[in-house]
Amino acid sequence: MATARFWRENPSRYNLSASRCGVCGKVFFPPRTVCSTCHRKSIGKMQSLRLAGEGEIYSYSVVHEAPSQYEILKPYVVAMVKMDEGVMLTSQVIDVDFKEVKIGMRVRTTLRRVGEDGPAGVIYYGYKFAPVK
């Protein structure tokens, strides 16, 4: 992946930068320029917002067959997490025994390495989830 492609996503990957519709209050991650409910009325009224980083597992899977990028991690847990702001995010769940992962489990985001451009390439960082102790 070109460095610029990842770099321009950094505000959301590092800081959970999101947006909220100024008309109906619905939260979007990553940020959007138009609300899917309010359409034209929302243009120019989308407000930036930073997610607090906590939520609960909505669904999950233990991944056994992974793309080359995640080969060394497998098996790993990937989950859809409903954040307290109401928006859902997808990422890995780490620092947990697979058997303890459950729907409804409280997790919070933590900044981790999510990938790299080959052994000598650029390393990318982003959010993963860990259980709230």
């Binding site: 080359s68 990937v78 859809m80 997808t90 729907i103």
Partner: protein, 388 residues
């Protein structure tokens, strides 16, 4: 709007077709369909080709012109258009062909679908398949295409009490149907334990819950209904064609146990055809994963939400059941050459409605439906066909 009929069908065997390249399979299916309709080249007004990712699978773009060329149509200079919507590419190509004839712009069009997936290894094929999902916000964070469907399965089990066995039964049933289809990639029956004990791919889904990587092609010839009997005694009428979209990422939806795009496309299709789900005797649905078929038969209205697993276990979707689903073997057993799949579904329905489906024939089939899905339900095409 004019009425449109299918007057010719053709397909290749699906599977690891190492001896054939993309051109060969595309042309084999296309020529078979043209032969079936007894057309001459001069009568073809246009070509539509469904293909997801020839650029990544065989490093060849511009495949519609390629297929037209190798079909011997280069000197006829017909419009040739490639359509891409991930897994729904084939169904969408069919819909574009349908619209072209229904509008009166063209009288006869050929719609093909083709994918050559096995020239790359499984790891790369998995990555290409995952590009149907949201690359930046799902895949980069470790969600594979099977994992996204596994999360749907887990949630469906949690919300509706669907059991692992009920989900696995979809695979058993589709392998059973596939064993009756000489063009299927897998023609052996399997039992429930085989599915349950298979190597895990993305828990709770295992190897036998996932459609394979396949090479293959399928084609149909569409014609204005008022001219169809010039070519065939058994035109199959397209009663409805509907399409809907949804968020690209699964996590952007409030409910992942249902594909809203399937519900919307089905409602539109049933309205256009003035029919209800109970009128359908035979359906091909997009079982790229076992759980996908359970969602499909619920969202299409064949069974109430949450009852798809139970209905499958009871045999209601098996040959002899209330609404027979995936007589071809489905994507699971027939195979899933991505761009070909949506067209192959319609080829199967046409065979059923013509009464030419051999050992897997559903007796008395008059109305059939095909549901073709792109990504995790971001594009859905529903087509309803009738023996005219």
């Amino acid at each position: 709007m004019r009425e449109v009929a299918v007057i010719g069908i053709g397909d290749t065997k699906f599977g690891e077709l190492w001896e054939s390249g993309f051109r060969e399979i595309g042309i084999q299916a296309g020529l078979a369909a043209v032969e079936d309709a007894k057309l001459t080249a001069e009568e073809i007004d246009a070509l539509y080709v469904g293909n997801m990712s020839a650029g990544r699978f065989i490093e060849q773009e511009h495949v519609a012109a390629l297929i037209a060329d190798y079909s011997g149509l280069a000197r006829d200079h017909i419009p040739a258009t490639r359509i891409e919507a991930a897994g729904a590419s084939g169904g969408l190509a069919l819909r574009q062909g349908y619209l072209a004839v229904a509008s009166g712009m063209h009288d006869i069009v050929v719609v093909g679908g083709a994918e050559k997936m096995t020239d790359v290894g499984d790891v790369l094929a998995t990555e290409i398949q995952a590009s149907a999902a949201d690359q930046q916000w799902e895949v980069t964070f470790g969600a594979t295409f099977p994992a996204l469907h596994a999360m749907i399965a887990r949630r469906h089990m949690y919300q509706y009490g669907t059991t692992r066995e009920q989900i696995a039964q979809v695979s058993v049933k589709n392998h059973k149907h596939g064993s009756l289809n000489p063009k299927a990639q897998f023609q052996r029956e399997i039992d429930l334990n085989t599915v349950l004990r298979a190597a895990p791919v993305a828990d709770p889904l295992g190897m036998f819950d996932c459609a394979p990587f396949s090479d293959g092609a399928a084609a149909v010839v569409l014609c204005a209904m008022d001219k169809a009997r010039k070519y065939t005694d058994t035109p199959i009428k397209i009663r409805a064609s509907a399409q809907a979209s949804d968020t690209l990422a699964l996590h952007a939806r409030s409910d992942i146990c249902s594909f809203a795009a399937t519900r919307v496309a089905a409602q539109k299709a049933f309205r256009q055809a003035n029919l209800e789900p109970k009128d359908i005797q035979v359906a091909e649905v997009h079982d790229n994963f076992t759980i996908s078929e359970i969602l499909a038969i619920e969202d299409l209205g064949f069974f109430p939400k949450g009852q798809g697993g139970k209905a499958t276990m009871e045999g209601q979707t098996t040959i002899g059941g209330k609404v027979v689903v995936n007589t071809s073997g489905g994507l699971k057993a027939r195979g899933d050459p991505i761009g070909a799949t949506g067209v192959a579904q319609v080829v199967e329905i046409v065979q059923q409605l013509r009464g030419q489906a051999g050992k897997r024939q559903v007796s008395g089939a008059r109305l059939g439906l095909a549901q073709n899905v792109g990504g995790t339900g971001a594009t859905v095409v529903v087509t309803i066909l009738e023996a005219a």
